[in-house]
């Protein structure tokens, strides 16, 4: 099969490139569009390090052939901040020490963004469910869950936890 001209909107900007049938959304983002925030942890949909939003829903981009999502709206971690101003979720991760090695962080943040977009007031259990597909091997789940709950509070206008 031959390469196909593919267009996606990434973080609001239209991007057109050649995609071979085996090119995944993850590899297109990382190697063709230079957006390396989404990570390759397992290349089999098991670790969540490559999580991005596809038309608003979180997907493991390593399992999405990019030619099948022509015309889609993609959001990655690179699009969250407004210049130096971080998103609520990013700021809460920063303030809450919810990062360790940092490799799972972009995927965690995108899963969190998807959760808060559809549920502004999640319970702890709902947060845990939302990040259940994101593996953190430094075992930092506790601060990650706290940071997402904190981000939800900030977004609802209730102010930071500290």
């Amino acid at each position: 099969m031959s390469a196909k001209i593919t267009t996606i909107r990434v973080n609001g900007a239209e991007r057109t490139f050649l995609a071979r049938p085996e090119t995944t959304l993850l590899l297109a983002l990382r190697e063709q569009l230079g957006l390396t925030g989404a990570k390759r942890g397992c290349a089999q949909g098991a670790c969540g390090s490559c999580t991005v939003l596809l038309d608003g829903a979180p997907v493991v981009s390593c399992l999405v052939p990019v030619a099948t999502v022509d015309g889609a709206e993609i959001a990655t971690v690179e699009g969250l901040a407004d210049g130096p101003r971080l998103s609520d979720v990013q700021q809460a991760f920063l303030d809450g020490f919810a990062t360790q090695c940092g490799f799972c962080t972009p995927g965690m943040i995108m899963s969190a963004e998807a959760l808060l977009a559809r549920n502004p007031d999640p319970t702890t259990a709902e947060v845990a469910e939302a990040i259940s597909g994101n593996v953190c091997r430094c075992t930092g789940y506790q601060p990650i869950v706290s940071a997402i709950l904190d981000a939800a509070r900030r977004r609802r206008g209730e102010g930071a936890r500290r």
């Binding site: 942890g41 090695c101 972009p106």
Partner: protein, 454 residues
């Protein structure tokens, strides 16, 4: 309240309790932190390995012809392309012999051992090429158990002639302190149990890997996620038989390591491939390789035999400890030494005998992982303490307090203990969980010599 370390106490310290932003966190939350793989090169070549399917076998023939016919395959690297094929990571601190080949020569010693490296234009071509290598083996008997490996009729799997690492002329890292047999004879009770652990994989979210980029005048820039940049640089230089100044390692950003990224597994072959092809080369483990062939924490087997007096004093402890190094040494001799240094645990025991063996088997080589050598020994020692306490009807904390080492005690390694604080830690832990201790035990102190306070 007791001031435990008065000479180390600085009332003006203000760090604890003051939040300080991690220097790397802003990069992590914005996705701007640069991990080794976050670099793209239009002419990047890729490495995939053809690995042994047997635990132990002779290599009769390695046929690369079909692999070389795969479109995109540039080269199939064999041991003959590796300038100094035999190495050992610990040679940098004077520990030998070099016992591991970068690529197998005439035999393989574990399932998953690298035989040849396929370099290709694309990852897909490298995978396809690696799958087309044909190897004819003569299978050999495999040794998969540490104690079987040490039995006189076990097949010898190592070039050096023994299935164990030789510690300064000895079969094990040893402790000889007092007379354990005399202690057992004098004891009111003798307890002996066996403890064992399985290998544990670190499973970092970022798999082991590197990208090597040729520079001017033949120098090589190594983007790596190693936890041991200087070990990697020096060992790679030795394997390449080139001066270390020819190499630059750029790293320090590690997507999870936990000890799993201190061996030197990907950089030498990527350097060779980059030199041969003149192109940037990436060698990164798949998740399957990370799980199957990256070195785990060693499996250990530990026999503990204790002689105990009726009042709960341990007077003799004998330890036979076996670290399963797998097929090659890597960091395991160091792990076995750490295990010996940790024995007999934080207790003062007048008679101690230990043999800590670093044993070779036809299993995946094990290596470093968080406190290796120490962690499993502690599991065995503290399990043993609980079981003895239970068997004698003693309170497990009182039993530990009775045997706890104190400042000034002579340890089995003939070092004087200082800054012990074990008694105070147990007392505080007991108070925090509401575990009541009699006055005799609450009055104990690390700084009071044994006998004066119980």
């Amino acid at each position: 309240m007791t001031e435990y370390f008065p000479d180390e106490h600085r009332p003006r310290f203000t760090v604890i309790g003051t939040p300080v932003q991690r220097s790397d966190a802003l990069g992590h939350v914005t996705g701007r932190t640069e991990f080794f793989e976050d670099r793209t090169f239009p002419d990047l070549a890729h490495i995939k390995i053809h690995r042994s399917v047997h635990h132990h076998a002779l290599l009769d023939d390695v046929d690369r012809s079909e692999a070389l016919r795969v479109p995109g395959v540039l080269r199939v690297i064999t041991h003959a392309d590796v300038p100094a094929n035999w190495y050992g990571v610990l040679r940098l601190i004077g520990i030998g012999p070099d016992d591991e080949p970068v690529l197998a020569e005439d035999r393989v010693r574990y399932a998953g051992e690298p035989i040849v490296a396929v370099v290709a234009d694309s990852e897909a071509a490298a995978i396809e090429g690696a799958s087309r290598v044909r190897v004819r083996y003569t299978e050999l008997p495999a040794v998969l158990d540490v104690e079987e490996a040490l039995s006189p009729d076990a097949p010898i799997i190592k070039r050096a002639g023994t299935n164990y690492f030789v510690f300064e002329g000895h079969h094990a890292r040893r402790i000889r302190f007092g007379d354990v047999e005399e202690g057992f004879a004098r004891a009111d009770h003798v307890f002996e149990w066996r403890y064992s652990s399985a290998p544990i994989e670190h499973a970092p979210t970022e798999t082991t890997g590197c990208i090597v980029v040729p520079q001017d005048r033949g120098r090589l820039l190594i983007h790596s996620n190693t936890q041991a940049a200087f070990f990697t640089l020096d060992n790679t230089a030795l394997i390449l038989d080139r001066p270390p100044t020819d190499l630059q390692v750029k790293g320090g950003t590690v997507g999870g390591g936990f000890g799993g990224k201190v061996d030197v597994m990907v950089e030498p072959l990527a350097c060779i491939a980059a030199t041969i092809t003149g192109r940037p080369v990436k060698f990164v483990y798949s998740r399957e390789e990370e799980m199957q062939v990256s070195s785990p924490r060693a499996a250990e087997r530990i026999y503990l035999k204790d002689g105990v007096l009726a009042d709960g004093r341990i007077i003799a402890r004998k330890i036979m400890l076996y670290v399963d190094a797998g097929a090659y040494a890597r960091h395991s001799p160091y792990g076995a030494t750490k295990a010996a240094a940790h024995l007999p645990g934080p207790y003062t025991i007048p008679n101690v005998y230990a043999d800590c063996h670093c044993v070779y088997t036809n299993r995946t080589p094990s290596s470093a992982m968080r406190g290796f050598g120490v962690t499993i020994a502690d599991f065995a020692i503290e399990s043993q303490m609980d079981r003895i306490a239970r068997a004698l009807g003693l309170d497990p904390l009182q039993f530990r307090l009775r045997n706890a080492y104190r400042d000034g005690d002579l340890k089995a390694h003939r070092k004087v203990a200082s800054g012990t604080a074990l008694i105070e830690v147990i007392q505080r832990a007991a108070a925090l969980v509401g575990h009541e201790l009699p006055e005799e035990y609450r009055a104990m102190s690390s700084s009071t010599p044994r006998g004066a306070g119980g």
